[in-house]
Subunit: 270 residues, 2 copies
Amino acid sequence: TLTPSELLALAPHQTLGKAARRDAPRVSPGTDQEHMASLALHHCVTAMPVVDEDGRLVGVVGAATLMDILRREHVEDLHRLAGIARESVDADQARQALTAPPLRRARHRLPWLLVGLAGSMVATYIVSRFEATLEARPMLAFFVPGLVYLADAIGTQTEAVAVRGLSLSHQPLGRMLVAELRTGLLMGGVLGLLAFPMVWLVFGELALAAAVALALSGASMVATGLGLLLPWGLTRLGLDPAYGSGPLATIVQDLLSLLIYFGCVTAVVV
Amino acid sequence: TLTPSELLALAPHQTLGKAARRDAPRVSPGTDQEHMASLALHHCVTAMPVVDEDGRLVGVVGAATLMDILRREHVEDLHRLAGIARESVDADQARQALTAPPLRRARHRLPWLLVGLAGSMVATYIVSRFEATLEARPMLAFFVPGLVYLADAIGTQTEAVAVRGLSLSHQPLGRMLVAELRTGLLMGGVLGLLAFPMVWLVFGELALAAAVALALSGASMVATGLGLLLPWGLTRLGLDPAYGSGPLATIVQDLLSLLIYFGCVTAVVV
């Protein structure tokens, strides 16, 4: 792999065998295209030779193809994060997603929403199990949307980091998980410490404030764990980890947050 | 802009002035780098000439730089979607986001979470305004997490489409907005029609089922509108539209969903 300018700058009688770099990156025909693009970026090359198991050149992936792969992976990630079934892989299709007739758009977006509707029913069921608690203390419903939102926000951060980072990091899962859980506990602790005096001050109940702060820290920690384990599990199954950061991860996180919150308030307040 | 192979294939006496393509894409020094990368992809070129206002060549952006830009924009989008303050722009940094010490990770992720905490307090305040409603009918709390989740899911879909699509589409905002709102109403209508018999069947109240279905359709439509208007507004302000799909958009959507839901149930049920 010599660049055209290197090629033109060669001494007249030099053979290519001497001039060619032997440490250049190469991929096999079975290499994932995203991994190949990452490798090209890492080595600052704009073309990637493909070699078979004997090291024979099978072909070369050029700069235009590499650029196209990078853009496709970008749009794919966004759509999987958002739970849109059909990927718009090129610029024309990305524009189309904003210009197609509403009926066609709805068709690409409804499948994940129906999964979400099923999840919503489970969420409704979970809250309904705490009807007696809510009847005794309607105030407990006040904190549900905020707590669920914050745990989701933390989980989404971990997922966004994991979706790109997992394919690049070579740390064992256990170590990454412990570090993420500590990050989650740290952030949840800060949020809990901030929420505690405010809830106490506004609602005048120490036990309620403690339960909300406790639930916030717990849900934050669970969110980081789930945000790492879901993309990791999908990678292991040979699926795109970006699915693990979409609407499915959100509803699973929501259900866990509800269980953690009602668990905490039932234990502490009621 | 001739490719090296085109250059080598020229007839011996042909002048470059005749061979060079004059319709090749070009950018000015002030062009946004993401726009430039999109232009290169669209025209299938792997290098982009930069010309000043008189058409004089200022420089050329090569394939390696274009590839680097595409990857940076990808990671940036993911991080802005997730509300992570510092962008990890290259592969090493993307890996670092999974290997840095928890304290440093938390520092990059807390700023948006504190904005989220403020939003959560507003959510708590909104629900607390309906304390009397909840005291009379604790059952109304059951549907809050599911409804808020579904509206968010729909809003996130629109945002993911808008973040990429807005820079490529040349339709007037009004037309895009009407189409998105119709898409939202369509999807919300489907979800509402599915939820209506289930709520009626399980909870045995026609008015409650109607209120939930109505709130679901309304919140879905608002979610598509907000999901388009926020990225659009940010683009107009010269900011990255990806910010309009992050945690800020989610909490704004959550607050609107709560108001729509409690508005509907107060009007229909109580």
